[in-house]
Symmetry: C2
Subunit: 138 residues, 2 copies
DNA sequence: GTTCTAGTTTACGTAAACGTAAACTAGAAT
DNA sequence: ATTCTAGTTTACGTTTACGTAAACTAGAAC
């Protein structure tokens, strides 16, 4: 038994900058299933990791149901060969979509860099030659 | 005057695999403003590029209003120094968020790779020792 | 001349992902 | 004993990003 630290819902909410409503919603959608101590939810480290992965998926534009499907791949679940093959296919599909998103990011990065250079030039040019039109405002 | 090819709304819809409703919606939200020929919308190459950028942003999880703000940075608009500085700040902010997303992708990629190896092993292991209906649970 | 075919406007409907308010519970602090 | 302070359930509300249907227009095809 390694660590067994637990968390309350508001601790997790604070850590990840989300509301408790959000965390409960993920449970409604069956992405989380924390333990209970009486009426209160009690989150284990495993739940915290799951939450982190869900939020990562969200930042990458995955829907909750997509994230749910991805999370299922991390579990040692797979029993028969057919299920394993299905999981493997889904995995490769997701990997491919990640590759595409990575390309999207790289393209957008280079676009933003260009824009930055252009604006930087506009700024320094304005400094050098006085920017004829804007002697009024600084 | 380089190219001046134009597109109808359904041509663009077909090319990008979206509906005309979506394209008109983006216009409602002021992300596009195509010309008109009588009552019909007529899209120039510039509009096509904008649409492409909007969809790219969408894939990366940006909201339409975020994309709108980003697209504004590509226009040679900036007039006074204050506006240029604001744009520059927003640009760097977006670049930073892209860097973070890139990290997210890399982490998810390595997670998926691990999962793939695990499942692959489960498959070949099952092949080696027969696995006759898995009489025990994992 | 009518019937297709795209296109248009207007407007109500919808799924996802929460926000927000109300009403309740249970332990801690005063 | 009451008042905080989390936590809980239930349920209706809201925003974003479109879907979908209805009713109209205008040129092309038959």
């Amino acid at each position: 038994m390694s660590i067994s630290k637990t968390y309350t819902i508001s601790e997790l909410a604070r850590e990840f900058g989300i509301t408790t409503r959000t965390i409960r919603y993920y449970e409604d959608e069956a992405l989380l299933s924390p333990g209970r101590e009486g009426q209160q939810r009690i989150y284990a480290e495993k739940d915290r990791v799951l939450l982190k992965l869900i939020l990562r998926g969200k930042r990458l534009g995955f829907s909750l149901s997509e994230s749910k499907a991805i999370l299922a791949l991390y579990e040692p679940g797979g029993s028969n060969r057919h299920q394993l093959q299905t999981m493997l296919n889904l995995l490769r599909e997701k990997q491919e979509s990640l590759r595409l998103r990575l390309e999207d990011i790289e393209m957008m990065q280079s676009d933003l860099l260009e824009a930055e250079e252009r604006i930087s030039r506009a700024l320094t040019d304005g400094q050098e030659n006085g920017d004829p039109d804007s002697h009024k405002q600084n």
